[in-house]
């Protein structure tokens, strides 16, 4: 069974979801790539931010 770490799972999820978002939401290859990269950064960035938030508010 494939057992990735939490962060690896996040990276894989973000990669695949961003690929589909980029292709379906934009029309030209350049804009697809830029939007996909933007979504990827938001996915991973928000996970890191919320992870730290949970770290600081945990009892």
């Amino acid at each position: 069974m494939f057992q990735p770490s939490h962060f690896t799972a996040v990276l894989l999820f973000a990669l695949f979801a961003s690929t589909v978002f980029g292709i379906t939401m934009r029309e030209t290859p350049r804009r697809m790539f830029r939007y996909g990269a933007y979504c990827f950064a938001l996915f991973v960035g928000s996970v890191i931010v919320f992870s730290w938030v949970m770290y600081f508010i945990s009892p």
């Binding site: 494939f2 057992q3 990735p4 999820f13 589909v20 292709i23 379906t24 029309e27």
Partner: protein, 133 residues
């Protein structure tokens, strides 16, 4: 005669409008392949099939019944995978219960792969109707 032929052609053309949508739902990226958008179809195929396959590899649960509202939503997401869902369901490959944390991730991977596949199929339909280029 030419009017009849034109009408028949128009009717078959209208029916074919939904072909990329249905093909894209059954096989990820197939709708784009039908429209000769080779690269887009290939990337969509790889992304969605890899996501579903990794979900299976993580021991993800395949929703097969709708006993409560959450199961119903999970089933709706899984059905979005098209043929991948039906094949794995009939072969009994998917896990029945989530036992480890990564299996829960896998379950979500499979559901989201289905939802992304629906997005891709609708995108193919929009390309076919001219709403998108």
């Amino acid at each position: 005669m030419s009017n009849k032929a034109a009408a028949a052609g128009k009717e078959s053309g209208q029916r074919a409008v939904y072909l990329p949508l249905i093909a894209g739902w059954l096989v990820p990226g197939a709708g784009h392949f039908l429209l000769r958008k080779w690269w887009r179809g290939a990337f969509l195929f790889v992304a969605i099939v890899c996501m579903f396959a990794l979900g299976m590899a993580m021991g993800g649960k395949l929703y097969t019944g709708a006993e409560n509202i959450l199961d119903m939503l999970g089933l709706a997401g899984d059905v979005g995978n098209g043929l991948m869902f039906f094949v794995t369901h009939f072969l009994g490959i998917g896990a029945q219960h989530v036992r480890v944390t990564t299996a829960d991730y896998g379950t979500k991977f499979m559901v989201v792969a289905g939802l992304l596949n629906v997005m891709a199929a609708v995108d193919a339909h929009n390309l076919r109707t001219g709403r998108k280029h």
